[in-house]
């Protein structure tokens, strides 16, 4: 035997001891998995229902002028994903919107980076390619700063910050904070995040054709 095998660790590695360690960990993990499975089973439906409700609220928020909008999820193509990522946003879902049977455009669920993490938002685009509204689904922006953008608080000129995107089309692109988009003072990065999402959504709808 070489000298290396006589190190201290090797001496402790009695097969019975190793088996004891492994079994203890295994039993613990099985118990823990059982507990987690149980908690998951009682919370799963509630969490799913809550997430669905949030998405639905956001969807109807961006189509306030429609009387009874219906949302139908459509397939995301590579062209749409590429269109979103050209504005450094990540496409999640695309919904085809109909209002009373007639075509009313698309709603795009899209994610863009804010100052503290990802901002998940829904952007509505009508049949003319103009933004109908922006609604935030999920965010982790700083309370009191970026949260002002998320909460659609008014800009210095009185327009709520998310409502300034309404009516913007691909011909206004690229939308940019400082030129054709106003930011809430102190929350430039959060405003830029939302702008990225809107840019991406417009490009996605343009890619649908």
């Amino acid at each position: 035997m070489s000298n290396e095998t006589k190190t201290k660790e090797k001496v402790d590695m009695d097969p019975k001891y190793i088996l004891k360690l492994t079994l203890t960990l295994l039993v613990t993990c099985v118990i823990v998995a059982g507990v987690l499975g149980f908690v998951n089973s009682i919370t799963k439906d509630k969490i799913e229902a809550f997430n669905l409700e949030k998405t639905n609220t956001a969807l109807s928020n961006v189509y306030q002028q429609a009387s009874a909008p219906q949302f139908e999820e459509t397939d995301v193509t590579d062209a749409m994903t590429a269109a979103a990522s050209s504005y450094s946003a990540t496409l999640k879902n695309v919904y085809k919107v109909t209002d009373g049977g007639s075509d009313a455009g698309y709603a795009v669920k899209i994610v863009a980076a804010g100052s503290q993490g990802d901002i998940e938002m829904v952007v509505g685009v009508d049949t003319d390619g103009a933004v109908t509204g922006v609604s935030i689904v999920k965010n982790s922006e700083t309370s009191g700063i970026g949260s002002k953008v998320m909460g659609n608080l008014p800009l210095a000129n009185g327009t709520p910050v998310l409502d300034q995107f309404i009516g913007k089309t691909t011909s206004d692109q690229p939308l940019k904070v400082g030129s054709n988009v106003d930011a809430i003072s102190g929350a430039t990065v959060s405003s830029k995040g939302v702008t990225k999402g809107v840019n991406g959504a417009l490009a996605v709808v343009a890619a649908i054709g």
Binding site: T24, T28, C29, V32, T43, I47, F50, S143, I145
Partner: protein, 210 residues
């Protein structure tokens, strides 16, 4: 078991944040509104107490070599349970705590107390230790929240009182914005630690000067 002594230790002489300097990341990150601080504090208190109890209960059958792995599994189990329950029943809190809730798994306070206290003490004493240390953590979070919220945004009780907006005590334009940013968290925590060390050192100095 001495509840009074353990309580004093958790709150003052051996406060997890201000004296042991544990769990500082979450302390600085989430203390921007009263609701966040309270929610995080209570979440940690519950997880700390439960994991202390379980670790004290299994301490005699756990082989020494894999104790850290066992601690982490037990803690992770409770954290995931609390995370799922909050997502299901208090979604607003879950959304505002964000990633810091699952990160309680690696919060040094819980692992630190497991190693330093509950692995060496009985179930009842460990439960009391969990409650006292968790309470100490919560109090520090709330102090941080009140200072940062009041001076940073000018409100008190954000997220709970006055429909979630908090009660405005200082006009908004006088808010010191930097305090709501992470750097403000560092500054605020540093001042609190300094004040605590000063307060703890005072009786000693008096004796020395005699």
């Amino acid at each position: 078991m001495n509840f009074g002594k353990q309580f004093k230790e958790g709150l003052i002489t051996n406060n997890p944040v201000l004296v042991q300097l544990l769990g500082m990341c979450s302390t600085m990150a989430i203390t921007t509104s009263f609701f966040n601080g309270l929610g995080m504090g209570v979440a940690v208190l519950i997880i700390l107490t439960l994991s202390n109890i379980i670790i004290a209960a299994i301490r005699k059958i756990v082989p020494d070599k894999i104790r850290i792995a066992m601690f982490i599994v037990v803690i992770a189990c409770f954290v995931t349970c609390v995370d799922l329950l909050l997502q299901a029943f208090v979604p607003a809190l879950s959304a505002s705590l964000g990633v810091f809730l699952p990160l309680i798994v690696v919060n040094c306070i819980i692992l630190g107390r497991a190693e330093a206290f509950s692995y060496k003490n009985g179930i009842a004493a460990s439960a009391v230790d969990g409650i006292c240390q968790g309470f100490g953590y919560t109090v520090v979070l709330l102090i941080m929240c009140v200072i940062r919220e009041l001076l940073g945004t000018g409100t008190f009780g954000g997220g709970i009182l006055n429909g979630g907006d908090g009660i405005r005590l200082i006009p908004e334009q006088f808010g010191i914005k930097i305090l709501t940013l992470p750097v403000g968290g560092f500054l605020c925590l540093a001042c609190l630690i300094a004040a605590m060390q000063w307060a703890l050192a005072r009786p000693q100095k008096k004796e020395e000067s005699k």
